[in-house]
Symmetry: C2
């Protein structure tokens, strides 16, 4: 099998590595940036780099367009025109509706949009890994115009890369991603905006920024070029989600102002349950349990804990550090799946001399 | 010096430990729950437990009321009536306006509200530590009715506990806390509400919940009794902040829908800068740098990294794990203060065979 990868960064490079190792495919790469071509070769993400799209896609059975969302329409069109009549062309962009709408014309039956849910936290071919897609959801957005034969080949190739392909229509994809991925970014942005405004208004300094603010705003202003493209190409779905949250917040403000303790309590408790259910849908090991402990924040403490759990084979699903203002002490929260596993983890941590509480 | 601690949980217990060790004070405790009294004694947080408030405060120079916000008005009143004319009475509640407004009457000059910014992430006397307040901001809310002499004694005692006392009026305190602490909780609640609604609407399953959703909603539904009290006693300030965010989100939705890439980019970039500035105000070691790396999520990898950094004396200010769907691989972000320190950390991590990128 011959695979072409157009754009050799984190995602393209990882596709190349996985296709070589897992599919035994011949992988031809192309990147408009000569330095990226060189790095991609050094990392052995492809068997060969070509200097043009036409050369790279020649004879390829599957062409992956792994470029920023903003340039995908042009890149996909060029890949379709340059590749053979048996080539499936796909992409890995985070939004799908705009692209799928723009790819029209004689070759449109050979294009099927795609989006692997992997690698969002790093970038660059130097972080590429053959197992990046292992177990990851990989959305595909075929339309009524798509070739069934090529769709079948594409979804097999993606399954062979280790991912879990799932067909979805482009509009639903964009709405779902707006809710669970794009919306939190908008909210984080607005929250820091608000805090900055408060800091400017108050002659007093703001109090130390607490862990809730850190967590809630961690993604504020993340990766501007990528997010600019996402906001641009999914603007209707994102705007609609943001408006819904705006409306829900107005209602929450009213509820809180009412002082109705029972209704406030029910609303707050429901949020706890909702989050648990949403996150647990992802997990195989059972419900998430939280271990909370206070530690000396001296270098090495967290390591000691993680190492002891690691030796015992306990997997940490999630982790948060809350340094105290002096940065010498702090609290640590660890999330472990399954009650038995959580209790075992708590025992291990206690054995290191820490006090630990376990909550669901 | 004699100190009384009414309510011996995480905060009360830590005050007791710190007062014994750092002030050399005699500490008398009281808790309405006999089991809590026993645990407090076992942990040696106090020298003696008394069975009534009147006994506990007898002869005390400073009385700390460390009970849930909802019961503080009654507790503070009883402490004022029972204690001597030379006793300063304070509390540790997260909201101040309601309490300060309710404590009126003949002894009001002896009450000064307080709020240490510490210990929010754990609970229970078993997590009490003598150094919990080391370097922590401790707000005090004297009024024009407060005794200057007792305020001075109280703020000295708090400084001697290791904290940094700061006077602030109760209303400003509540407004600041609404912005940086209470608001993120409301937003997290609303966001999971929204995602749950989307999951219910879609016949499709929601896609895997991404790291941005995890971070932004981590505090959703946190500790219901405490947050019920906070929403109840700071409802006007919280509702006002929530309404402001609601309005900002409406504006953000409009901006995103406009598709004006330049303005969207400026808004997004400003969020990045705002967050950096807000968080860095807390730090002494210089600007925060982010190290991003992909790792095998096998138990022990994170430990190995943290341990190596620990050995080299690098302090990790913040950390986030982003497990991949298969839970076997994942990305790690570490935040380190200061460019030189970040580069040194990156070198160490590279030495362990990981690829790492450093960004501001």
């Amino acid at each position: 099998m011959r695979i072409a990868v157009l754009g050799v960064g984190l995602i393209g490079g990882s596709i190349g590595l996985a296709a070589k190792r897992r599919l035994g495919a011949e992988v031809i790469g192309f990147d408009p940036d000569p330095a990226a071509r060189e790095r991609g070769l050094e990392r052995e993400t492809v068997d060969r780099m070509d200097d043009s799209i036409a050369e790279a896609v020649d004879g390829a059975e599957v062409v992956f367009c792994a470029a920023p969302v903003g340039v995908l329409p042009g890149l996909v069109s060029e890949a379709l025109v340059s590749s053979g009549e048996q080539a499936a062309v796909t992409d890995v962009g985070s939004t799908k509706g705009t692209l799928v709408g723009e790819v029209r014309g004689p070759h449109q039956e050979r294009f099927i949009g795609g989006h692997p849910l992997a690698g969002a936290e790093t970038a660059g071919v130097e972080n590429a890994r053959a197992d990046l897609f292992e177990g990851a959801r990989w959305y595909l957005t075929p339309t009524e115009r798509s070739s069934g034969l090529l769709y079948d080949r594409l979804q097999r190739a993606i399954a062979d890369l280790g991912a879990r392909p799932q067909a979805i229509d482009a509009e639903t994809h964009d709405r779902l991603m707006a809710t669970v991925s794009h919306l939190p970014h908008v909210i984080a942005n607005v929250l820091v905006q608000q805090a900055a405004a408060a800091a400017a208004e108050e002659s007093e300094r703001l109090p130390e920024i607490g862990p809730s603010f850190r967590d809630t705003t961690r993604v504020a202003g993340a990766n501007p070029p990528i997010w600019g493209d996402i906001f641009a190409t999914n603007r209707d779905a994102v705007a609609r989600e943001v408006e819904l949250v705006s409306e829900r917040l107005r209602e929450a403000a009213e509820l809180i102002r009412s002082g109705d303790a029972e209704r406030v309590g029910a609303w707050h408790g429901a949020a706890r349950e909702h989050r648990r259910r949403l996150l647990e849908a992802d997990l195989v090991g059972g419900e998430l349990y939280q271990l909370r402990l206070s530690v000396e924040n001296r270098p090495g403490t967290v390591a000691e804990i993680a190492l002891a759990l690691g030796r015992a084979g306990v997997n940490i699903e999630d982790m948060a550090l809350y340094p105290a203002p002096d940065m010498r002490t702090g609290a640590v929260s660890l999330w472990v799946a399954g009650e038995g596993e959580a209790e075992r983890a708590a025992e291990i941590v206690r054995g290191l001399g820490h006090n630990v509480s376990v909550t669901r």
